[in-house]
Symmetry: C2
Subunit: 468 residues, 2 copies
């Protein structure tokens, strides 16, 4: 029996897509990569996922797991050789259990992040992961890429939010690891090995996730600063003054907000012009008045110390949303001005000012007049360091230098003890760059793990690790 017949027998013909039906699954959403596949399959249960893996093994077909197809590194797009079967997890979309008394929720991999957030709210709890793509990205994708977002400062990445997993291994076995325990020291940490492995070791089919109390009140403030170093110096003061109530600490350069105001003239800055801005969010377990009072106390002390130029605390939910909208409009505003070269990097917070100064200077040397659009999750040391062309340079000429810019910026990140992929993963986008920056011993260990858990090399080949 051939593979397609076997897949149709196992899943029903309507869940085995080929031809035009398969196309939407074969291109990543940024449109950078398009691959080919024997079929796209949509299993409806963990047992069906295991059947698919067994069938692919028997026929030597490689397996590309895919969630919401919102990844930024091409990790869920098959290569062009056409041997692959794409396994879409979107039909694994059931809520298995909410245990409010244990502050956990168990969901299948194809649930959207938004659905999980809503189920948690329905139970009077918070699932704190929050991303731009939350309406369509899935729990399985969040975990496979260890997604980040805006609340990592307080609640951690996707990794820190997962207590247990259910996984179909590369051998087609089901690992029943859906534990809802905060302490469990009974052997190797397989959970964290599958998390962040981008579908190259197995397929995550369900997860038990941590829930938190819903905050009683949330307040947002925008502060202006004369230097990036001042923003970095504000961070430990904010952490000390607000404790874990500090759930957001974003930084934005003047240039990045200029782009927003130019693209979206209805958006306005509540503060006068300044070289840098920081957006702080407090999630208070007491009251709105308490959050307001804490903001005033801590920001006034920072103002008196000369750390801030000015500060504005949002007085209403609408004002707070307007502040967040400034931050969240940067990417689209920048796209509106034309294509740019993006970097998703992290360095230790203490080295951020040096990193930015050094990298800015090197880039100006390489491409005089280039514009740096710098913003990101300063509380996590994670910057989106995006580079726009000088107005006089044609777009095509600028984009032709993309690899040179990547090399320059990533070399600088590496020299400052940083990471070339803070929250987006490696996928196929940065796979070859990884060879340049990763410790050789570490790469060797990664290959051994891959060989041990996927000896046939069928799981998402060509992602994360280059073939040896």
């Amino acid at each position: 029996m051939d593979l397609l017949t076997g897949l149709r027998d196992a899943l029903g013909a309507s869940q085995v897509l080929t031809g035009a039906d398969a196309q939407p699954y074969l291109t990543d959403w940024r449109g950078r990569y398009t691959g080919a596949a024997q079929a796209v399959v949509r299993p409806g249960s963990t047992a069906q996922v295991a059947q698919v893996v067994h069938l692919c093994r028997r026929h030597g077909a490689s397996i590309v797991p895919q969630g919401g197809n919102t990844g930024l590194a091409g990790g869920a797009t098959p290569d062009v050789d056409g041997r692959a079967v794409v396994v879409s997890t979107r039909r694994l979309d059931r809520l298995r259990a909410v245990d409010a008394g244990n502050d956990t929720i168990t969901v299948e991999a194809g649930c959207t992040l938004q659905a999980v957030q809503q189920w948690a709210r329905d139970a009077g709890r918070l699932y704190p992961l929050s991303l731009a793509s939350e309406g369509s990205c899935t729990v399985g994708g969040n975990l496979a890429t260890n997604a980040g977002g805006t609340q990592v400062l307080r609640y951690g990445n996707a990794r820190e939010l997962a207590l247990g997993l259910e996984v179909v291994t590369a051998e087609g076995d089901i690992w029943h690891g859906l534990r809802g325990l905060r302490k469990d020291n009974t052997g190797y940490d397989l959970r964290d090995l599958y998390i962040g492995s981008e579908g190259t070791l197995g397929i995550i089919t369900a997860a038990t996730l941590r829930l938190y109390p819903l905050p009683v009140a949330q307040r947002t403030a925008l502060v202006s600063l004369s230097t990036l170093a001042a923003a970095v110096a504000l961070l430990p003061r904010a952490r000390a003054g607000f404790g874990a109530a500090l759930t957001g600490f974003e930084v934005m350069s003047h240039a990045s907000l200029e782009v927003v105001v130019r693209a979206f003239p209805q958006q306005t800055l509540p503060l006068g012009p300044a070289p840098w801005y920081a957006l702080l969010e407090l999630s208070d377990s007491e009251s709105d008045a308490h959050a307001q009072a804490r903001f005033e106390a801590v920001l006034e002390a920072a103002l008196n110390e000369g750390l801030l130029l000015d500060a504005a605390v949002a007085g209403s939910l609408a004002q707070s949303q307007a502040l967040w909208q400034l931050r969240e409009s940067i990417s689209s505003a920048q796209s509106w001005e034309g294509k740019n070269i993006k970097h998703d990097i992290s360095v230790p917070a203490s080295r951020i000012p040096d990193f930015v100064a050094a990298t800015d200077a090197l880039l100006q040397q390489a491409i005089p007049g280039v514009r740096h659009i710098i913003f990101g999750h300063l509380g996590d040391g994670n910057l989106h360091y995006n580079v726009s062309r000088p107005p006089e340079v044609p777009e095509a000429d600028f984009l032709a230098r993309q690899d040179e810019v990547y090399l320059l910026v990533h070399d600088s990140v590496h020299a400052h003890g940083g990471s070339i992929s803070a929250e987006h993963g490696i996928g196929q986008l940065k796979r070859d760059e990884l060879l340049r920056y990763k410790d050789g011993v570490e790469l060797g260990l990664m290959h051994r793990i891959k060989q041990a858990l996927d000896p046939l090399g069928l799981m998402n080949p060509g992602k994360v690790l280059a073939p040896r």
Copy 2:
């Protein structure tokens, strides 16, 4: 050249201990296990650790890493065949760097936990891991066993506190993974694989750890409750009302405090007798008065709801210490009354009342009159469920039934979705029990990892995994 000569050449003769000098390293501190070794070596640098591993490989000697030798599961004690070399990390005791601006500290594996706590405080920061053995346990041991303690509720286990590791692999290579990044998605999570692997995959030689702001004030309260279910119901209310300021939530049965008051008559309870007590700790980022006011508000609401029988907030540091001393005296008070059978287990918080009721009943059936001394970190679902003999049963007769009691309690833990080792690890103590409770697929994956990273099987053999 024989192994001992090679080791002496590499480390200096004074750092290669044999005979009586080696003895203190060959018995665990509870005195349950005594092994034998060709030598105990005390390397003074990571490079020397790597040399030791190379020498042991060449001579086919197994390697038992050891930190402060305070483990509770025999994980750092060699077996009796005498082939092993014990590698003590205690001379790797340097502070490599404090980066206050990044809230990180980098220390070598042999540093005591207390030294790290002090270095953090010297930099105006908190390293929140806190254990009874902190004066002698080491960072390397904390990470190798993923140690827990009393502040896990807020700050997580040792795992959650580590950002980067330096490891000498089983091949004698050095992995330079000392990253101080809160976001880094560049490949498989080797860090978390070495953490908790109890020295069976390699030797952790240094770590970069997270620091936190020092709290401005700390307050403690004791509450009395009529049922364990009321304590479980108080937990989400306390989490919601205090947010992340809640840094401790311990539970103690009446029987466990009775034992303390009997053994140490100078200790007194500030509340009248009740079936259960909970000890709550707040770490406030604002002021002592604020902590006091929060305690009053949240505990008053719980009292009015009928959840609590009574509550006492410590009015001074001395009162607070006296409350913690009650909790911390339970183990020694129980030992003072004779040997008992201990369990370090976790179940989902929501299932704790059912678990305790069911297990208590089964034990009474098996050994009528047996006493349950139940206390622990309720906030993490982690109980120390200890069993003392009925007064009329001779100690020897009672202890002869230890394996039967383990089986009964651990079967019940398993049936309630729990873990047979919440924070102490597997070592040799629970190695064979693991075979009974661990998912077969998971055990198989663990063996593959072991085979991949330690193909010669020289790293701490016989710990965690039984030979196949």
